[in-house]
């Protein structure tokens, strides 16, 4: 057998490690900033660029795509070469993957801060960046599959199955969810509307969690855990079973983000049942990890890397049990719209993704730099600080979730809401937000300790950019031989066939939900009274999206008495058919706005109230944590794009009359003038071309169309003074 010489590319691994560290610090600092903003609104700095609605997407994107993304690439680029005994397929592709990804992150940070956003959670980036992501992601997959094809090892190991599923899953999710109609370089509209958009978005959102935060990390776990503890993987069979069941079932479970909302009941039931069925496949990974550690617990005591792996597996097990529980409709009524979900994702994010990344770095960097970890003691300190930080972060939020939920639904003995003023339920949980800040600060301190430790380690060793290695050439592989190998074993030596089978398995779950939602009319019953947005309201809606109001406000009244008493009639599917994109929200930090425009509902406020509130919410409610939006009074509505917006909406099927784009501006000015005059009677002088006029118009549209004819209550119309 011929022994071949080759060189591992360590430089690309080192580059991704640095990116992981740098973006990790940035992402956590932004996280800390928004935690401060929720407890003390002064930290919004009264600037559009730094206000919560823009910083929150920056935080989630920075952590998920920048920190975790680079960690995935670092882990994959190292382990793939080792497992396949070859250099990465092509150095140029590796470089494009690295620099392309960093460029995406920079553009993302810039554009989110400036307010360029699609308004779809975790998919906020605008279309040019979406295209860039697709290109770089395909480069990553191409490089990976290329490497698989030039390998020197007969079979591809379990870790790589997960890497492949990651590549295929994200490619599919990203492309389908990003179908949008651009109207300019910085603005596009989702081609899906309302409930359809919601289904696609949460198919994406849920599976971004699966295929960006779960499958790649299971792959990393299958490589780095047995390496670090030097023990064999416990069960090959379990690997197979939980791999295929997990990637198949996950894709169905997205609607569990939309329970009790305006979604057909069958779709909700898929969300519930497929989440419940995911318990065992998810736990398969945890079990294989823990059983790999068995008999080696003495090593765990001494090694910070292993300790982080144990925390990661524990957090993973907790989160993947909690998730299915949150998918039960009755439990979901507590966890949805409250801080429960925030606690849940931080157990998973800080514990599982953080823990695994930290463990990997503590093991990998000494290996890569051929040295010893600078300080095991410091690493252990990091471990304890991080663990405490996770608890201090999550426990207050669980507490806050239950407290607020109980208050929302509490009735007096006479049958009235006990806390009809939303602010009372918010003030009650604000102390919890202060404790969370301590948790976040500790996590940052731990992270910085790690950075110091790792930098010291790196400077004490050398990383050989191109490390020489040798391995026997791969002998020719024959066709499937049913006498000597199982079909799966055969698949394991066929990279392309493996990918095709995985792709089909992945595609089913999405197709089953998305196709009927889009093509079967009965799934979206329309309402006659619902009319398209006027040009002014549309402009206001785009401001709502730009400012990220959906990060704090829902527009989705669920069919619970305690919600309809507080907000008004529950939301119907047909109300949202002109919503590109939908804006149902996922956390109710402020009250639901879905009925804010129903003039006979309990939520209605007049124009001058809204004006004063946007200028300074704390003047209206001393304890409000809503940012001030004074710049809406300064900025003018961008009228030049209005006709284009109307035409785009027409393309998407919104029934504006033929040629309405030419009339739109006149209509807009007339409506704006009316609102400005209304404000004038209250003594407020504001030019009708200001953005604040548009956003008030939009707020007054919400729920107006389904309000039972807007007639004032009779008692208030007559008077008998004289």
């Amino acid at each position: 057998m011929e022994i071949q010489k080759f060189y591992y590319d360590n430089k690309i691994v080192r580059q991704f490690i640095w990116a992981t560290i740098v973006w990790g610090v940035v992402g956590i600092i932004v996280g800390l900033l928004i935690a401060l903003q929720l407890a003390f609104p002064v930290f919004n700095l009264d600037l559009s660029l730094t206000s919560f609605g823009r910083m929150r997407p920056l935080h989630t994107n920075a952590i998920i795509f920048a920190f975790v993304g680079n960690a995935i690439f670092a882990g994959v680029y190292y382990s793939l070469q080792k497992l396949l005994k070859t250099r990465m397929f092509n150095d140029t592709l590796s470089a494009i993957n690295f620099w392309g990804w960093q460029l995406i992150i920079l553009l993302a940070a810039l554009s989110l801060t400036l307010g360029f956003t699609t308004g779809k959670e975790y998919a906020e980036l605008e279309w040019p960046i979406d295209i860039l992501i697709a290109i770089v992601w395909i480069v990553f997959g191409w490089n990976m599959i290329g490497t698989i094809l030039v390998r020197r090892v007969k079979h591809i190991y379990a870790a790589i199955w997960w890497y492949l599923a990651t590549f295929l899953g994200i490619a599919m999710l990203h492309v389908v969810n990003s179908f949008e109609l651009p109207i300019s370089l910085f603005k596009s509209y989702s081609i899906y509307a309302g409930a359809q958009d919601a289904v696609v978005q949460w198919w994406y959102g849920h599976n971004a969690v699966a295929f960006f935060l779960t499958t790649p990390f299971l792959g990393l776990m299958y490589y780095y855990l047995p390496k670090a503890v030097n023990r064999p993987i416990y069960s090959y069979k379990l690997s197979i079973i939980h791999f295929w069941s997990l990637i198949f079932l996950y894709m169905w479970a997205g609607p569990h983000h939309l329970l009790y909302q305006s979604l057909p009941e069958w779709a909700q039931a898929l969300g519930t049942t497929f989440s419940v069925m995911l318990i065992a496949p998810s736990w398969g990974g945890m079990i294989n990890g823990f059983l790999t550690l068995r008999g080696a617990w003495d090593k765990v005591r001494d090694s910070a890397a292993l300790k982080f792996f144990v925390v990661a597996l524990t957090a993973y097990g907790m989160a993947t049990f909690e998730g299915p529980m949150m998918s039960l409709k009755n439990v979901n009524s507590i966890t949805h719209f409250t801080d429960w979900t925030i606690a849940h994702v931080h157990i998973a994010g800080m514990g599982w993704n953080g823990g695994l990344t930290f463990g990997m770095l503590y093991w990998l960097i000494p290996v890569l730099f051929k040295t010893k970890l600078y300080s095991q003691k410091l690493a252990n300190t990091h471990f304890w600080i991080a663990t405490l930080a996770i608890l201090l972060y999550a426990i207050p939020l669980y507490w806050s979730a239950v407290t607020q939920w109980l208050m929302w639904r509490e009735y007096t003995p006479e049958g009235f809401l006990a806390y009809p003023n939303f602010m009372e339920t918010l003030t009650q949980i604000l102390p919890m937000y202060s404790i969370r800040i301590i948790g976040g600060t500790l996590f940052l301190i731990g992270f910085l300790l790690m950075v110091y430790n790792l930098v010291k380690t790196m400077t004490s060793g050398v990383c050989v950019a191109n490390e020489a290695a040798e391995a026997p050439a791969l002998e020719k592989l024959g066709p499937l031989n049913p006498r000597t190998e199982t079909v799966h074993r055969w698949l394991e030596r066929k990279g392309i066939q493996f990918s095709i089978v995985a792709f089909v398995v992945l595609a089913i779950g999405g197709a089953v939900q998305i196709i009927p939602m889009i093509f079967i009319k009965s799934n979206v019953p329309t309402l006659k009274t619902v009319t398209p947005y006027t040009p002014l309201e549309l402009a206001g809606r785009d401001i709502y999206i730009r400012e990220g109001c959906y990060t704090c406000h829902s527009q989705m009244v669920r069919p619970f008495r305690w919600e309809t008493d507080r907000y008004g009639e529950y939301s119907k599917i047909g109300e949202f058919v002109y919503d590109h994109p939908y804006q149902w929200g996922s956390r109710r930090t402020g009250p639901d706005l879905g009925r804010a425009g129903n003039p006979v509902g309990p939520m209605y406020k007049n124009t001058s109230w809204h004006f004063n509130h946007f200028m300074d919410p704390q003047k209206m409610n001393e304890k409000s944590i809503m940012p001030k939006y004074a710049w809406l009074m300064v900025r003018g509505i961008d009228t030049s794009v209005i006709p284009r917006k109307i035409r785009a909406m027409q393309t998407l099927g919104v029934p504006y009359a033929e040629g309405y784009d030419a009339k739109a501006l006149t209509d807009m000015e007339a409506q704006a003038k009316k609102i400005a005059e209304e404000l004038k009677t209250a003594g407020i002088e504001v030019k009708p071309d200001r953005e604040i006029i548009a956003i008030i118009a939009y707020i007054h549209k919400l729920g107006r169309d389904i309000s039972p004819a807007a007639v004032p209550a009779p008692a208030a119309t007559e008077k008998s003074n004289k």
């Binding site: 047995p226 497929f274 809401l417 109230w609 004063n612 008692a715």
Partner: protein
């Protein structure tokens, strides 16, 4: 244990409970893979959750025993109506003047944030009118004030409080507002509406 498919050797590296099955040719970058069966309980959980899911589907969509969310909501509303009908006696709706009731009214004024629209001392602000003068937009009789707080005048910006406050509490806060007449707070807004009587 041997099979034709794998050449499986039995060995115990001395750290496990029970035998550990090594599979030949399952070694990747020095990571070995063992051929242990998955723990029975996790497979049991898997089959159980599949069974539960099938029952769940049958319960709601095939047997149609379970209520879908709209039916569930309608039932809860009806149940509440029947329950609270008994507990919401019509009560007397007349002006209150005793100190305790007025104090209660003042608390409601604070708790319900009337001040954001009418000012801290009901002196009025850019949104709502002065409630302490002798001028009224919607009438100064007790029932008129009561009804206005209860049903609001949403198009003019006055919230309807009927969903949030029981009649008794509306009675207290309305009485409190009426008691403020002539209190002359600083910064009082210019009168709106017509004088009383």
């Amino acid at each position: 244990m041997t099979t034709d498919k794998y050449n499986v050797t039995e060995e115990d590296p001395g750290y496990g409970d029970g035998p550990v099955m090594d599979i030949e040719d399952h070694e990747y970058d020095e990571i070995k893979e063992l051929d242990n069966p998955p723990p029975g309980w996790i497979m049991a959980v898997f089959y159980l959750t599949i069974g539960i899911s099938i029952l769940y589907g049958a319960y709601y969509f095939w047997l149609r025993v379970g209520d879908q969310q709209e039916a569930e909501y309608a039932k809860s509303v009806e149940k509440a109506r029947l329950k609270y009908q008994k507990e919401q006696p019509a009560g007397e709706l007349t002006l209150l003047t005793d100190a305790a009731s007025l104090a209660a009214g003042k608390d409601i004024y604070t708790a319900m944030n009337c001040a954001t629209c009418h000012g801290q001392n009901a002196e009025g602000n850019v949104i709502g009118p002065n409630l302490t003068d002798n001028y009224w937009l919607h009438g100064c009789k007790f029932e008129e004030v009561f009804n206005l707080v209860k049903n609001g005048f949403p198009t003019k910006g006055m919230t309807a409080f009927k969903a949030q406050l029981p009649d008794e509490k509306i009675r207290q806060v309305a009485s409190y507002v009426i008691s403020l007449k002539g209190s002359n707070p600083t910064g009082g807004k210019a009168p709106q509406g017509d004088p009383c009587e």
